[in-house]
């Protein structure tokens, strides 16, 4: 391909295949359309009669959040339990009702969760109830509430009696008229699976759970420690505390009832616009126990990391040491580039290494994006950055620090805000353990020789095989240099390796830095056997083969107390 015209033609030919869609995909989308929440109807904001004493008015209504609710991938709305299940619940009497008067009855852990249970009812203007209190919601079946003024509820709507309070002494009924009850109602959609490590899940659950589009979860031994990891603008004053705290950063807007005052005309509320890049709603929890921690939600906060960023799958890692940048590299340089300090430093160090200079040789370091980037901050993708080194003798040197694509760039601290540790194994890095060594496509060029197909694993060998499985193992790493960690032994049937992989509790860990990642090696205990690098080259053998499993790495730096947290290691 010699010119752009060729490229453009090739793109037009290639992209449709790359964008191929299967009928099952479109069917899922059609199913999600059928499950869309009900649209609010103009003029039906829902009248309210609050009957309670000493209840705090809290729920502010500033913008429509229903647009941010995730659509359950399962499609259909869950069914409410049979109201008869609540027949003996004394709270019904608080509303003057029996279970036979109800079309549906369900519990809410907190009043503030009502947009998730009744998305079409949002916003309930003037709802007066303690948002943190639990509530029993009774959706009346037929006759209008005796509190009702005017006509019966509109088609598809119901009057509701909500009993708010945790114990009988505090139960208070709240009547809400003419509520659109379409949508999830009784049960929240099942989360598709929590992405969070067990230790972080309770914090995330308190702020909306797995479906709340949470981007990051930070936990701190003290709220004041948060300043060493993240910078919030505007700041969260409740973090100025010595109590434990957590900050949950949402991908975009938070999932609960929004803050602020309701507009005069609720029918014209527009969906809340997505936030600008680097802007997020956040949920701040202060307290040792996530279940009882004080919760505050802040909207539209600029969130920046000081050094690195914990992924939602990690435990809280030690706070970064302040002053990580040498004097020759001003923090303002990194702020302007919107790079974390660690990345900024990595770029500078790469430039120094390429120029064969040491920090003592330079008086100042500046970094700019490569001009070919159109001045748009692509986060360092593509051409990369240009580092200008002003030496102590006043002369200047320029070094380009490139990031050759995302495949390599994601492991490189100079190319990623949150680089991954490169993990490799006979199976896990696309090294081609099962690559057919003939031709470039499956089936190969008919003209070239191909490897003989491997025999199957024999049942007798399979019976005597013994895999190595390590669900979780934490290994202290205290030194730099070449390390080979003996993880244990396995017995492989007929010499056929079926699986060999592992991961880390935190694939973004900065506590242990290596030359080129961590490699899982499977070594036969029979020294005459070839290495386990390719199934065809290793070959098939009668009986079983004993192997020893190692994790191999060249450690370049390690923080005190660092642990290599190995997870889900399997060799079989």
């Amino acid at each position: 391909m010699n010119d752009n015209a060729d490229f453009e033609a090739a793109l037009r030919e290639t992209l449709p295949g790359r964008a191929a869609v299967e009928e099952a995909d479109t069917q899922r989308l059609r199913a999600s359309i059928a499950a869309l929440p009900g649209r609010r109807r103009a003029g039906r904001g829902g009248a309210l009669l609050a009957v309670a004493a000493g209840i705090v008015v809290v729920l502010g209504l500033g913008a429509l959040l229903v647009s941010q609710l995730p659509i359950a991938h399962s499609g259909a709305a869950p069914q409410a339990p049979d109201p008869a299940a609540f027949a003996s619940d004394p709270r019904l009497a608080v509303c003057g009702l029996t279970s036979k008067d109800a079309e549906a009855i369900f519990e809410m852990d907190h009043v503030r969760d009502y947009p998730l249970h009744l998305p079409a009812a949002y916003p309930l203007t003037g709802l007066q109830a303690d948002p943190e209190a639990p509530a029993l919601v009774i959706v009346r079946a037929g006759p209008a509430s005796p509190d009702r003024e005017g006509d019966s509820p509109g088609a598809g709507n119901h009057d509701i009696c909500m009993v708010v309070g945790a114990d009988a002494s505090g139960w208070a009924p709240v009547t809400i008229l003419d509520v659109d009850t379409s949508g999830p109602i009784a049960h929240l959609p099942e989360p598709t699976g929590t992405p969070f490590a067990d230790a972080l899940a309770p914090w995330a659950e308190r702020c909306g759970g797995a479906d709340a589009r949470i981007l990051d979860v930070y936990t701190f031994a003290r709220g004041t420690d948060s300043a060493t990891r993240i910078v919030l603008d505007p700041s969260a004053p409740e973090l100025a505390t010595d109590e434990p705290a957590a900050v949950i950063v949402y991908v975009d807007v938070q999932p609960f009832a929004p803050l602020g005052t309701p507009p005069a005309d609720s029918a014209t509320i527009a969906p809340r616009e997505p936030l600008a890049p680097d802007h997020h709603d956040i949920c701040v929890l202060v307290g040792a126990d996530p279940a009882t921690a004080t919760r505050t939600i802040h909207e539209d906060v600029v969130v920046a990391t000081v050094a690195g960023r914990a992924s939602p799958t990690t435990e809280s890692s030690p706070p970064a040491t302040p002053g990580v940048l040498p004097a020759q590299l001003e923090p303002a340089v990194c702020r302007e580039l919107r790079y974390p300090d660690a990345r900024c430093l990595a770029i500078a160090e790469r430039a120094l290494a390429d120029a064969r200079l040491a920090w003592t040789d330079v008086a100042q370091v500046s970094i700019t994006h490569n001009p070919q980037g159109n001045g748009v901050n692509l986060g360092g993708r593509g051409p990369g950055d240009t580092v200008t080194l002003t030496l102590t003798d006043g002369s200047q040197r320029r070094q380009d620090v490139g990031c050759p694509g995302l495949v390599a760039g994601r492991f490189d601290p100079a190319c990623s805000d949150n680089p991954e540790v490169r993990l490799s194994s006979p199976f896990g890095d696309g090294s081609g353990y099962h690559d057919v060594p003939c031709g470039a496509t499956p089936g190969g060029d008919p003209g070239s020789a191909c490897a003989t197909p491997m025999p199957d694993i024999k049942p007798s060998a399979a019976k005597r095989a013994a895999p190595l499985r390590i669900d979780s193992q934490d290994i202290p790493i205290a030194s730099t240099g070449h390390l080979e960690l003996d993880m244990g032994r396995a017995t492989v049937p007929n010499g056929i390796l079926s699986d060999a992989r592992f991961t880390l509790a935190d694939i973004h860990t900065r506590a242990i830095q290596t030359e080129d990642g961590i490699r899982l090696e499977v070594r036969s205990l029979d020294p005459s056997r070839p290495p386990f690098e390719n199934i065809y080259e290793h070959g098939w053998y009668p009986g079983t083969e004993d192997v020893e499993v190692f994790l191999v790495m060249d450690v370049t730096s390690v923080t005190p107390g660092a642990m290599l947290q190995v997870r889900d290691l399997v060799v079989r």
Partner: protein, 186 residues
């Protein structure tokens, strides 16, 4: 009260009728409104996010935004373009937030086995090179070379001026070439 779209009628509802019905809460009408756009939307979203799952999520987000924000649309005839904008912006948001973590799916294209081996290799390299581009570049090239949108429509979809479309396209092609060359050297 819902405005029923009479499915038995021999007359196909107009976009205006479908929008009106959807505004009144008729999901079936909304489904008919978006149906012609679903497949192209999903395909483009997959290209931009480099992931079937993320592409699907992005289109779902766009569907919800369109459903709830339908009263913002001034001209029902412009619904496809408006929806396309929502899809692209949703996919870009998802792609940006995924950052470096992405599936590098190497899906087989509809290549003819009669093609020369070298041409087949070129396409595979080109797909991998495309995946290495930034979300913004992928979005722009998807609009220009998958949907074949003219400059003006591309500018509208991305919220930029037409002149910027041309310069960014040129630069994106340049970056694609660089990525292609890098792939070829692997």
């Amino acid at each position: 009260m819902e405005v029923a779209v009479d499915a038995s009628s021999a007359v196909t509802p107009t976009p205006a009728e479908l929008v009106a019905a959807a505004l009144a809460g008729d999901r079936a009408a909304f489904g008919r409104l978006v149906e012609p756009s679903l497949v192209p939307a999903l395909g483009a979203s997959i290209l931009i996010t480099r992931s079937h799952a993320d592409g699907h999520d992005a289109v779902q987000d766009a569907l919800l935004t369109a459903w709830l924000g339908l009263d913002q649309i001034r001209d029902p005839e412009a619904f496809p373009a408006w929806f396309r904008t929502l899809v692209v912006r949703s996919a870009l948001r998802v792609a940006r937030r995924r950052g470096d973590v992405g599936e590098l799916e190497v899906l087989p294209g509809p290549e003819s086995l009669d093609d020369g081996l070298e041409r087949s290799v070129d396409r595979r390299l080109l797909r991998r090179a495309f995946d290495r581009l930034s979300p913004e570049d992928r979005g722009l090239l998807t609009l220009r070379y998958l949907w074949d949108l003219p400059v003006a429509e591309t500018a509208y979809t991305l919220g930029i001026v037409p002149g910027t479309v041309k310069s960014r396209t040129h630069a994106a092609i340049g970056r694609l070439r660089a990525a292609f060359d890098a792939e070829a050297r692997r």
